[in-house]
Symmetry: C2
Subunit: 436 residues, 2 copies
C-alpha cells in the first residue's frame, strides 16, 4: 500500500491557483488537438530541420579546434565533461550581442542558463534576501516570473502598464517604490519586457525607456529586462534595449533567450549581470553579480547542457555571430502573422460593441477585451464547441485584473489558420453577447 | 559609474562559507594545472568520443520514426520545440531501470531533470513548506544537497554515518527523528547515498537498508535516495537499491543521474516520485508527487534540454536499454583505480601513526584521516609545494566535523597518476607530522 502525501503538507506554491492554471493551460492544447490554438507562445517550427543539429555541432567543434586551438582531448572535455558554471559560449554570445543589440558585454559578466527561466530564478534568489524584500513586476506579467517568485516565497508587487500598447509605466514604478518604502518594504528589482511583452504584446517607446532608467537610477531599484521577442518587430527597425541605453551604469540585469531566435528544445538562455558586488569573490574585494549568480547555479543545475551550448554556439557561428540577420525570415513570418491577426480582428469585431483589442507592433501576442468573463471555464466551452483555443488573461495579473481579456498568440500558426481561428472566435464571442 | 551592490544585501546563501568553499575548490584545480588532482568527482573521459553524439542522436530519431511511428513533423517537434515538463525519455529510462536495478517505475512517476541537482532542488522544495520543516542528511553529505537547502532557506539536520565504511546509520536516523519531533520540528525527508557515497565512499549493507526502510515507514520520513555511483562496485555484484527493496510502498524518492553512466555534459538526470498526493491534480482527486515536481520544474527550467534527452535516449537504445552492461568497461576501470588507490595508501601510510583511511568497495571516493587540520589552507600549501590536490572534508559536514580528513577521488586519473599522487601526498603528510 503506497504512502499518501497531502497537498496541504507540501510547499505552498503547489496549492497556488496560478500553478494549477498553468497546468490546465499546458494540457488544454493536448485535449483539443483539432482546435486552432492561439494558446502556446511557441515559435513556428517549419524553420527547423533535425539534420542541422549535427552540422551546428560540427561547426562548434571545428571552432574549438581551429579558432581556439584546442587539442582533441580538450575538445572532448568541453562537450562531455562538467564545465565552468558560467558556461562555455559566453564569448560567442557577447559578440552576437554587440552586433545585434549594440550591447557591450564582458563575457565574464555573462552566465549561460537553462533558458531564461533559470536566469530569472537565479536573479530573484540573489536579489531577494528577506521577508521585507519585494519584487516589482509589470502587470500583466509573464507567469514564469511570478511562479519563480512563488517558489522562493517572495513578495510580488504589480506595476501597471500604460494602456493597451504602452508597456510598463515609469511613473507607476516610481510611485510603487515610494509607497513600498513608506510601508517599510525594500523594493529590490522590477521585471519588465520592453519589447512585445508576454502577455500584452505592448512595447515601451524610447522616451519611456529613458525615463524608466532614470527612475531605476534614482530609486536604486534594479531593472530585470527580459528580451525574448526583440528581433520580431513588424518592421526591421528595432528600439534600443534598456541594457544598451544604460551602458555600464549597472541599472539593468538582462535576460536573454535562444528559445525563439534559435529553438526552445536547446534550453539555452543567459543573464548579463555586470553589477559589482562589494564583499564579493574578486581579488579586489569586489566581484560581479554574475559570479554570485554562478554560485547559485551550482545549486540549481550545476551547468547548462554542454551539448546544447555547442549546438547554439554552432548556430551563432553559422550566422557570422549576428543572430538578427539570421532571424530575418522568421521576423517576416511573424510580422505577416501579426498583420493577418490584426486585420482579421478588425473584420470580425469592428462592429461588435464591447470588444476591443490592442495593436502590437511585433512579437507573438495580442490581447482582446470582451464584455464577459474570459476564464478557464469559458475557454473550455469555446474549445469544445467552437474549436479554438486562447489564454485567459487573469492568470497574468498577480494583483487581480484581466478577467475580461484573452491573449491570442499568432506565432505557431499559418495565416490561413489565423483567419479560420478568428472566425471561430467571433462565433464564440457572438454566442456570449446578450441578444442585440 | 557602475552601481555597486553589497553582498550583505543579497541572499544569505551567497555569504555562506559553504558556497565560497565550493568556489575555491572549483578553482583550485585550474590554478594548479600540473598537480595530480584527487579533487574533482569527474568521470574518466577517455571513454568519450565526440563523433558518437551525432550517432546517438540519429539512433533516437530513428526510434521515434520507426518504433514510435512519429511523422517527420512530430520528430521535428520533439527535438526542437518545448515539450512535456516531465520529459521525453521517461519510458526508455523506466525500461533501463527495470533491467539494471529491478526497479519497476511507471514512466508517469518519472521527471527528467537537468542533472540530479535539479531533481534534488525540486524534491526539497516540494517537501519542505514551512519554518518547522527539517531536511535530514547523512553526514558527511554531498554539498549539492546542503547547498540546495541553503538556497531555499531550509533547516538541515545531520545524521551520522555508522563508522568509516558503514554508510548512514538507521538507528541514528530514528533517534534524530524522535529528537526533532520532541523539539516541535517536522522532519520531512532524509537524503542518503546508499552506494559509494560522496564524499565518504561508504556503502550501506543490505540489512541496514532494510532497517532504514522500516524506520522510514514507521516515522513517516521519506528517504531521498541518490544513486550516481551504483554501477561502479569493485565487483560486478550489486546491492539492491532502497527503491527496489521498497517496491511500491512509497517510502523512497529516487534520484538518478546519467552524469557518470553516460556523460556529465548532457546534464540529464531524473526523479522517481510515485507517492500519491491527496488533493493533487489527478482525475481521482489524487496525483503523483512527480506531477507536483513537474509543476515546480516549470518554474526552474521549464524543460530539460530535448537535445540532451535525445542523445541520452540514443545511448540507452544503443545499449539495448541496459545501461549497467554498457558500463562494465567503466566499472572495471574505476575498480582498478580504487584497488590501486587503496594499495598505494597501504604502502605509503601503513607505518605512519595517526593516519588511517577507509576501504570503499567501489565508487569514486575514499577518505583519509590525518593528525593535523586538513583545511583549504593546508590544501593550498600542499598543491603549491607538493603538486597534489584533494578535497578538505570539513565542508561536507553541515554540523561540523571532518577537520582532520581529506577526500581522495580516483575517478579521473590513471593508475600511474594515482601512484604518483599518493607518493606526493605522503611527502606532504610527512612534512605536517611532528618530528618522530
Amino acid at each position: 500500500m503506497s504512502r499518501v502525501l497531502h497537498l496541504a503538507d507540501l510547499h505552498g506554491s503547489l496549492s497556488d491557483p496560478l500553478l494549477d492554471a498553468m497546468t490546465f493551460l499546458n494540457e488544454v492544447t493536448g485535449r483539443y488537438p483539432e482546435a486552432v490554438s492561439f494558446a502556446p507562445g511557441r515559435p513556428y517550427e517549419e524553420f527547423f530541420d533535425p539534420a542541422d543539429i549535427a552540422k551546428h555541432l560540427e561547426t562548434y567543434l571545428r571552432h574549438l579546434r581551429e579558432e581556439r586551438g584546442l587539442t582533441d582531448a580538450r575538445v572532448r572535455q568541453e562537450v562531455f565533461q562538467y564545465g565552468r558554471t558560467k558556461g562555455l559560449i559566453a564569448p560567442l554570445i557577447a559578440r552576437a550581442l554587440a552586433a545585434d543589440e549594440g550591447i557591450d558585454a564582458d563575457p565574464e559578466a555573462l552566465v549561460v542558463t537553462v533558458g531564461a527561466q533559470e536566469g530569472m530564478l537565479l536573479v530573484l534568489r540573489a536579489l531577494c534576501a528577506g521577508p521585507d524584500d519585494v519584487l516589482l513586476v509589470s502587470a500583466p506579467c509573464y507567469v514564469g516570473v511570478t511562479g519563480a517568485a512563488r517558489l522562493l516565497d517572495l513578495t510580488v508587487h504589480p506595476v501597471p502598464e500604460a494602456g493597451p500598447d504602452g508597456g510598463l509605466d515609469p511613473e507607476a514604478l516610481a510611485a510603487a517604490v515610494r509607497d513600498l518604502r513608506a510601508a517599510g518594504k525594500r523594493p529590490r528589482a522590477c521585471y519588465v519586457v520592453p519589447d512585445f511583452a508576454n502577455p500584452s504584446g505592448a512595447s515601451m517607446a524610447e522616451p519611456a525607456r529613458r525615463r524608466l532608467l532614470e527612475v531605476a537610477e534614482e530609486s536604486g531599484v534594479l531593472l530585470i529586462e527580459d528580451n525574448p521577442y526583440g528581433f520580431f518587430g513588424r518592421t526591421a527597425a528595432a528600439r534600443p534595449t534598456l541594457k544598451a541605453l544604460d551602458g555600464d551604469r549597472g541599472n539593468v540585469v538582462y535576460l536573454g533567450s535562444f528559445a525563439k531566435t534559435c529553438f526552445p528544445g536547446a534550453r539555452v538562455g543567459y543573464v548579463i549581470a555586470d553589477q559589482r558586488v562589494a564583499g564579493g569573490a574578486g581579488a579586489d574585494g569586489t566581484g560581479l553579480l554574475a559570479d554570485e549568480l554562478a554560485k547559485l547555479k551550482s545549486m540549481t543545475t550545476v551547468n547548462t547542457s554542454a551539448l546544447s551550448q555547442a549546438v547554439i554556439g554552432g548556430m551563432l557561428l553559422a550566422g557570422g555571430l549576428r543572430l538578427r540577420d539570421a532571424n530575418e525570415p522568421a521576423r517576416r513570418f511573424y510580422a505577416r502573422n501579426m498583420d493577418t491577426l490584426l486585420a482579421e480582428l478588425e473584420t470580425a469585431f469592428r462592429d461588435v460593441p464591447g470588444v476591443s483589442w490592442n495593436h502590437p507592433d511585433g512579437g507573438f501576442f495580442a490581447v482582446v477585451t470582451v464584455p464577459f468573463r474570459a476564464d478557464a471555464q469559458a475557454l473550455d466551452g469555446c474549445a469544445r464547441k467552437h474549436g479554438v483555443l486562447w489564454t485567459p488573461m487573469d492568470g497574468f495579473h498577480p494583483g487581480g485584473g484581466g478577467e475580461h481579456q484573452l491573449r491570442l498568440s499568432c506565432s505557431y500558426l499559418t495565416p490561413q489558420q489565423i483567419a479560420e481561428g478568428v472566425r471561430r472566435l467571433a462565433a464564440f464571442v457572438a454566442e456570449q453577447l446578450p441578444e442585440g
